[in-house]
Amino acid sequence: MQKDLESKFLSDFEKNQNIVHKICRIYTTNKHAHDDLFQEITIQLWKNYTKFRGDSKFSTWMYRVALNTAISLYRKSTRTIKTQDISEIAFKIKSNDYDDTQEKQLQSLYKAIHQLNDIDKALIFLYLEDKPYKEISETLGISSVNARVKMNRAKEKLKNILKP
């Protein structure tokens, strides 16, 4: 039983791991921290997997656990982002539709997101991932109305940072 559960988890997780990588990218700025956070999220996902009953999609559940892990870890630490770290990770555009402007945009987007607080990061991330408000509110455990208000503020903050 345990073995079946384990292999199901592993295969689902492996398929969806890019979600966790993206979360790690917005919350950390170097490879080491990225891998640390990835491991922590994996541990939390596995710990909570028994509670996952499949009434939501695996990926939806994954967004929730992974983001909450990142937020709580980020809160505990007093780590601030050092600017020299940022250049360590290059954010790339898919090679088949490579576009120089898009790559530059992506880099400034990440740079801007890094300056947001932990909750705003999560909100913006869910916006970029094109999640409906219902899912955003469930993921972050806030009401739909509240999610809308907070999202608008987070977007404003991001726009201000992105302004040339």
Partner: protein, 214 residues
């Protein structure tokens, strides 16, 4: 179009993570706590070092006086320096183990690292126990080899006392003290490192199983 929309498009076009983890690595993540155990071995090693170092500095002057009377000052200093050097080497090894047992290693490498940690801890405990026994015996050897010095060191004023009898009683007493302290030291190591090694062993067994599966 919203100013953020174009950024969103770039976001959707970003490439997938190139350093993806394999199923094996992900499995390791969920099961692995070795690196934190090894970190604790390192921390306890340092604490112990500080503790023993602190005790040496806080020894009352009378102890140094006794070493002087027994003409063992040189032995005391030389052995202390060697002892702390060896401890520092062990702490360095603990640190190296901790650094090496990176979470991203594959199973085979991790199994090897765990074996190495176990070996280092084993040698560390053996060194400490043997060092303690050897130190105790050496001090006693010096003490009882020259009864005149001993008399001076322990301040026997009463000349009616039979020094030979005193020496025999003291020897027995010393033997008991050394045995008891060795036992206590052994118990301490068994408790402090035993628990950590047990956790490590559990992880080791799981990893061996995993390695057979893959």
């Amino acid at each position: 179009m919203d100013a953020l929309e174009k950024y969103k498009q770039s976001w959707n076009h970003q490439s997938e993570e190139k350093d993806k983890f394999s199923t094996e690595q992900i499995y390791n993540f969920t099961h692995k706590k070795s690196s934190s155990v090894v970190k604790w071995i390192f921390i306890i090693g340092i604490l112990e070092f500080v503790f023993w170092g602190g005790i040496t500095f806080m020894l009352p002057d009378s102890v140094y006086k006794m070493y002087e009377d027994l003409e063992m000052t040189t032995f005391f200093y030389v052995s202390s320096v060697i002892h702390y050097l060896v401890l520092l080497i062990f702490i360095y090894l603990f640190y190296k183990n901790y650094k090496q047992i990176s979470v991203l290693e594959n199973t085979k490498k991790l199994i090897k690292s765990i074996l190495k940690v176990r070996k280092t801890v084993k040698y560390y405990v053996i060194y400490n126990l043997l060092g303690f026994i050897f130190g105790g015996i050496t001090i006693n050897f010096f003490m009882f080899s020259d009864t005149d010095k001993l008399q001076k060191a322990i301040n026997i004023q009463n000349s009616h006392l039979d020094i030979d009898k005193v020496v025999i009683y003291m020897m027995i007493g010393q033997l008991i003290v050394i045995s008891v302290f060795t036992l206590l030291l052994w118990l301490f190591y068994k408790l402090a490192y035993g628990i950590l090694l047990k956790k490590l062993n559990k992880n080791y067994a799981e990893l061996i199983k995993l390695d057979e599966h893959i």
